[in-house]
């Protein structure tokens, strides 16, 4: 009942705060779209050279939107020269694919489309060998990048908006006033988690659907798992935002947490490769929620793993949230001893 009162109030307040709503729902989409333009510009037009191809196969490949060039005598030199995305040679029982890989994300898409087209063949699946002209199979950027990016945006915006909302509650004196009513501290925290959780949930759904269906971010795993991970991320952001707001005394101070709390997480969570970093430094990443979020999201969206394989990551994230929620409840003791 009391929790419900807080939830209703938050909804009323948010409905009137159009700017915050816009920030929550549209800003992530805007940034995500810009990012996808930068990293994904030529994905739509993939050109594949085929040697010894059969007409049904070529038809199938064209069906998955590949631009096909048939050429029997082709070479890697020509591939480089012409800047085609790949070269497929069909031999007896084996298929050899050479990828230019100047843009790792195009290569990934090409492989995905190829495997889509080759799979339904009834006869023994031909073994596919893949060579790379540039780099190797591990050089993917936006594909590894984008699942984490989704998690990051959920985290960032939810953190900021809850933090500032709770801060306003503190500075306007309404929090102290609340604690002069019989409401329990845990009820206040629960009301906040539910009220803002609702908006975080909407935001998560919008970002995920937009990313997957509009921006065509690669996702092989279950979309429900993606939503589940992002909801857990939102919960961590919610609870961390509320907790840290008790250490800020103005909106500006709340913004100062961005370089302190948010930016390091970007560097350590694996959005950028960490291989060159000292091991002890890499370990710092293990203290950061986004590290686990990125692991789980990358696993599901890029590698297509199932629930059991991300369960540990989810559990760690949930533990972060629980710890932050408990600490937030304690931080309210500043205002009332009970």
């Amino acid at each position: 009942m009391r929790i419900g009162a807080i939830v209703t109030r938050i909804i009323q307040q948010m409905r009137r705060d159009r700017r915050t709503l816009a920030l929550l729902f549209f800003a992530p989409l805007l940034v995500l779209t810009l990012m996808s333009f930068i990293f994904n510009s030529n994905e739509a037009n993939l050109t594949l050279v085929i040697s010894n191809g059969t007409p049904p196969l070529i038809e199938k490949l064209q069906a998955v939107d590949l631009h096909i060039i048939e050429q029997q005598n082709f070479s890697v030199e020509q591939l480089k020269e012409q800047q085609y995305d790949g070269w497929l040679i069909l031999g007896q029982g084996n298929v050899r694919l050479t990828l230019l890989n100047n843009d790792p994300s195009s290569s990934k898409v090409l492989i995905m489309k190829l495997s889509q087209a080759l799979q339904p063949q009834q006869d023994a699946a031909p073994s596919l060998t893949t060579d790379y002209v540039y780099g190797d199979k591990d050089t993917a950027i936006f594909d590894i990048f984008s699942p984490m990016l989704i998690g990051f945006f959920v985290f960032f915006f939810v953190f900021l908006i809850t933090g500032i909302a709770l801060l306003k509650e503190r500075t306007s004196g309404t929090l102290e006033r609340l604690l002069a009513t019989p409401i329990k501290r845990a009820e206040i925290v629960a009301g906040y988690m539910l009220g803002y959780g609702l908006f975080a949930f909407l935001q998560t759904v919008i970002i995920v659907l937009f990313g997957i269906y509009v921006l065509d971010i690669v996702h092989v795993g279950s979309i429900w798992l993606v939503l589940l991970i992002n909801m857990t991320v939102a919960l961590v952001a919610l609870s961390l935002g509320s907790l840290l707001s008790s250490f800020a005394s103005s909106e500006f101070q709340m913004m100062q947490f961005i370089p302190l709390i948010i930016v390091p997480q970007i560097f350590f969570s694996g959005i950028f490769p960490l291989d060159n970093m000292a091991t002890w430094l890499q370990k710092i990443g293990h203290l950061m929620p986004l590290y686990y979020a990125a692991n789980a999201l990358n696993g599901v969206m890029y590698k297509g793993v199932t629930f059991s394989e991300i369960a540990t990551n989810l559990a760690v994230l949930a533990s972060f949230a629980i710890v932050f929620i408990i600490l937030t409840t304690f931080s309210l003791k500043k205002y009332r001893v009970l």
Binding site: A5, R16, D17, R177, L179, A180, T181
Partner: protein
């Protein structure tokens, strides 16, 4: 043993080693309108927050309605009005009232009734649909008072309730406080630094630098200090030369 609505026993409070409330004991009888009088900065708000359980005294015990402070249940029996208006500016007056009413677990019917009653009392009935951000200072003060009265508590603790309210409404609010005391047997503790309000109290507690310098009925104080008004009582009781 007499029943007191509020009793303080050797309560003491310092902020950063600066004593704000000297050890003081104090009893407030049930069913009385008690005024806590003193200049700004003398510790009135601090004392009230300790009674509410919002601040922890460094020493001493506080009891309210026979419960040891702090006590969760106690808070549903106290109507509290803070010195600074703590309202949700982006909500309307009515939404604010409804929100607080829900926190006191009033049933839906009670809630509607009490919201209308409280709004009527402070003359805000026609402005309930307006966002509080557009209220004047006096209107906000009145809304805060309405919130304190919402759940019909036996004990009212009001921190400077009439600051910024025009004289006509101020008079009406005092009339209502008297009525609440007389008809509904409520205990009311009011802080003020307006000496003209002192006369209306049953008991006056004068506070200075955290010390109680006088505590009696208004009439007795005037007689004792041979004073015309309470400014004079205050100065004489505080040991100052006129």
């Amino acid at each position: 043993m007499k029943h007191y609505a509020i009793s303080l026993d050797n309560v003491e409070k310092s902020f950063h080693h600066k004593q704000v409330i000297a050890p003081l004991s104090l009893n407030i009888p049930t069913g009385q309108l008690v005024g806590l009088l003193g200049p700004s900065g003398c510790g009135k708000t601090t004392l009230i927050k300790m009674i509410m359980g919002m601040l922890k005294p460094d020493n001493g015990q506080i009891q309210a309605l026979n419960l040891a402070v702090p006590h969760q249940q106690l808070l549903s029996s106290i109507g509290y009005m803070a010195q600074s208006d703590a309202l949700y500016l982006d909500l309307t007056g009515e939404e604010n009232l409804n929100f607080f009413a829900k926190l006191y677990n009033l049933s839906k019917r009670e809630r509607t009734q009490r919201v209308v009653y409280a709004a009527q009392l402070v003359r805000l009935k026609d402005d309930l649909h307006i966002k509080v951000a557009n209220y004047s200072g006096g209107m906000k003060r009145r809304l805060s008072l309405a919130i304190a009265l919402l759940h019909n508590p036996p004990l009212l603790i009001l921190d400077e309730p009439t600051v910024g309210i025009d004289p006509v409404l101020k008079k009406e609010i005092w009339q209502e406080l008297m009525r609440l005391k007389n008809e509904d047997q409520k205990t009311i503790l009011v802080t003020t630094h307006a000496m003209d309000e002192a006369q209306k109290c049953d008991q006056l507690i004068m506070l200075r630098n955290g010390y109680i310098i006088a505590n009696d009925t208004p009439q007795a104080l005037k007689t004792q200090y041979d004073a015309q008004d309470f400014d004079e009582v205050f100065l004489k009781a505080g040991g100052e030369v006129l």
